[in-house]
Symmetry: D2
Subunit: 263 residues, 4 copies
């Protein structure tokens, strides 16, 4: 069985803006999904905000190995209980790939614990995403950098937890830098944030960008240890390894604390 990918898109701009629709006539989700469907070993579905439960029912999530997230205008319209559900599934092993303006989505902020704020400028400037980690499967095939001729700028400070591994750092023509590709582990799940992508630029037609998204999907699919407990629960482990030593401490007959606990 292949890796089961669900591409989620808020799907707003493409329906209410002619220019955006001219770039992504079937929606950003179908543009990305279309690319991924051509890759071996992936089974690709899509989901959007307007669907019941935003298309993210318990059943859909249970059958998703990696969720891709794109949102921009409608972050607040995502229901909190669905965010809870997605978080739970990530902690249980589902991968999450967050693209571009998804940095401000509820689910990304939930997983990071930070504001995920940043600085931006929309001036169609040149961007280079430099590889700073040659060890990682996600940077495979990227050469020394990926170049995007016209991009919205995202600048530091990007308010994220220090990444577990930093993969790409962007250079922008206008003077800024940005930590554009980074991964984190949360529970049994892996998270990959990747900066490129915008509704008014054809970034998701860029071969290099699509390749990295594909690499990210493969890396985020779970291949770790499912037997671990402690994910989501606080379990009483009744049995010690063997007889414990006689207690110095007896409940209700406690010595004066400052005595019994002196180092």
């Amino acid at each position: 069985m292949g890796i089961r990918v669900t591409v989620w898109n808020e799907f707003v701009h493409e329906q209410n803006n002619d220019f955006v629709r001219s770039i992504y006539p079937r929606g950003i989700h179908e543009q990305i999904g279309g690319y991924l469907r051509e890759q071996p070993g992936l089974e690709v579905a899509t989901a959007t905000l307007e669907q019941p439960d935003h298309g993210l029912t318990e059943e859909v999530l249970a059958n998703t190995d990696v969720l891709i997230w794109w949102g921009h205008a409608a972050h607040r319209k995502v229901r909190d209980d669905i965010v809870d559900r997605v978080q739970g599934r990530i902690l249980d092993g589902m991968g999450l790939v967050v693209l571009h303006s998804g940095h401000f989505s509820k689910i990304f902020k939930r997983m990071m614990g930070t504001s995920c704020g940043l600085c931006w400028r929309e001036a169609a400037e040149r961007e280079r995403l430099w590889v700073v980690n040659p060890n990682h499967p996600i940077t495979r095939g990227c050469g020394r950098y990926i170049e995007i001729p016209n991009a919205e700028m995202y600048g530091e400070h990007f308010d994220i937890p220090e990444p577990d591994e930093l993969l790409f750092v962007s250079w922008f023509e206008g003077g800024e830098v940005f930590r554009s590709g980074a991964v984190w582990h949360r529970g049994r799940g892996k998270i990959f944030y990747f900066r490129p992508g915008h509704e008014t630029y054809p970034i998701f037609h860029h071969e290099g960008v699509l390749q990295v998204i594909g690499n990210g999907v493969r890396w985020c699919a779970f291949d770790g240890n499912t037997e671990t407990i402690g994910i989501g629960v606080c379990s009483n482990i009744a049995e010690p390894i063997e007889e414990l030593s006689p207690k110095d401490y007896v409940e209700g007959e406690i010595e004066h604390p400052s005595e019994s606990l002196a180092r």
Copy 2:
């Protein structure tokens, strides 16, 4: 001016359980606060669940450099809007010290993004907290380990993000280990989780444990860069460093994407 510390305690067990009250007659917050008040350079206040806004008003938080958190039985009673407020203040630079069963508090789970689950056993067993990071101010003065004669066991897997720095690892008589002291950075704030402490054991009378809490308070106080932007906001930075190159891309006159963005 010293470091302004607020010790927060849900203050439930001490009011409804005689045995716990015999150990902490004035509450865990006053036991810890009493120790800290004797340390130079600290200004110590306390706050509890039953106070208006749980004692954590905007004004209190604005005047708190480091917040210490102890909770166990009443995590769910903490109001979500207060959790939002505390999170905002942490991202803006307030330190957070989370003790023992506070691992399951709303604020700790919010900052971590994980379930913060673990395994436990209450058998008054012996614990050794081994120093695994000799570089950190928080382990100063701890020798090779701290020993607690009777402790509740906490075992792995502890569902936390990989710590920025792991400081202590506990050994338990009954066969488990636990990552007992660890730090993370979130926004401009620092977070220190420290495992020891229980309502039915006199852990907060232990000199070694109190010393580490004091070290933790000093380390968590902000001494970084307050001018950073991106914390909590998404700011438009209008001006590039200099004139940008002529655009290849003109909105509305876009070439076919697969052409213009070929690498």
Copy 3:
């Protein structure tokens, strides 16, 4: 083509100690190599100290994807130029799996930059290796922990750089803990240190230990970005992205520095 593994062993104890030979009659390298040869997708060779160039010629290393290292009594007999050679090959993408007393090998100390010191006790005590990272392929199949009934104890402080990912923490019957499984990235190479293994205990006959070594081999095999430059070289990149702005600074006609560089 499979992953090409070379198992290196100093092969001293097995030749001069009858008891050790009774456990590892063909040497530790053949015991581990024998297990790995039965696994799909691995091509396994061995090398030992007494061979020319310790069996680690340029050709052997060029054809090795992952090197496993076991040494104990003869670390000092390993030639420095061979250590240089192995380091160079690791930075160029070869994986390294270091076992047990290999912590004090020249190559491990070289890659870590630290003393790699630790504490130990030989008392055949019980050990549990707890999984602390459920996300990692190396912990797959390990359950919550691996138990070894009789092991040499290794205790903290283990003088290593903070691991990129900490995978296992050991509990020992005698009261110590140890960071027993950890990974680091260096250049294009991956490094996995795994604690179990001793010449007078049959640790390398333990199914759970062997399984982890196999997982480690697969994870350490390079699958990243080979086009990166900067590994081992300091390269002049002559061409900027485009015309640079007119220089404020002209060599030989420099203004007084405190003037020209004022912020």
Copy 4:
């Protein structure tokens, strides 16, 4: 007693190149040392390559809390036994601040375990060092970035271990980025690498750069745990915490391994 700083400089360019001498008439070490001497709480000495033991005798190092290192043309002339000595002192708690071309020094490569290679271009281009970590004392007072009007470019990939904390990322006019400020812990010592500085640019006259070096010195001074053992030694800890359980394993009477060690 203040923090005892030793500023080390190979001191070659300033003696054999008139232009460099015009910028640093008393040497780079005196330029940096002069700034530091004006800061409260620092006691500043200097040392150079041409002195006996390169000015780094056992006595000098024993009385140095933080060593600053600048070298460029003469890395190979630094004696290996002095590198060993400096490494030992770092692991024992001395801080190390490495500047600019010191990235290729023997001591930095020794501490990192990597080649420390990078790419470079000398075209007096504009550089901005962006703060990516607002939590760290080293970035205090830096605003959002430090700008240097004319700098030698250093570009990725920079072959270093992933930093414990990444503090600055540089933007260069010519299209590159670089991880310009980063810290690592090794043994009991702290290491700070800071990119700016060149012999033919007056970088060490830049107030912002000097301020960061001062911040770095204060942060690198040891304030951790000196009682830790395992730094540089492999110690036999004879005594377990208490009587161990009866051995299953008796040396020389071992059961068949595959039996006794079955999980």
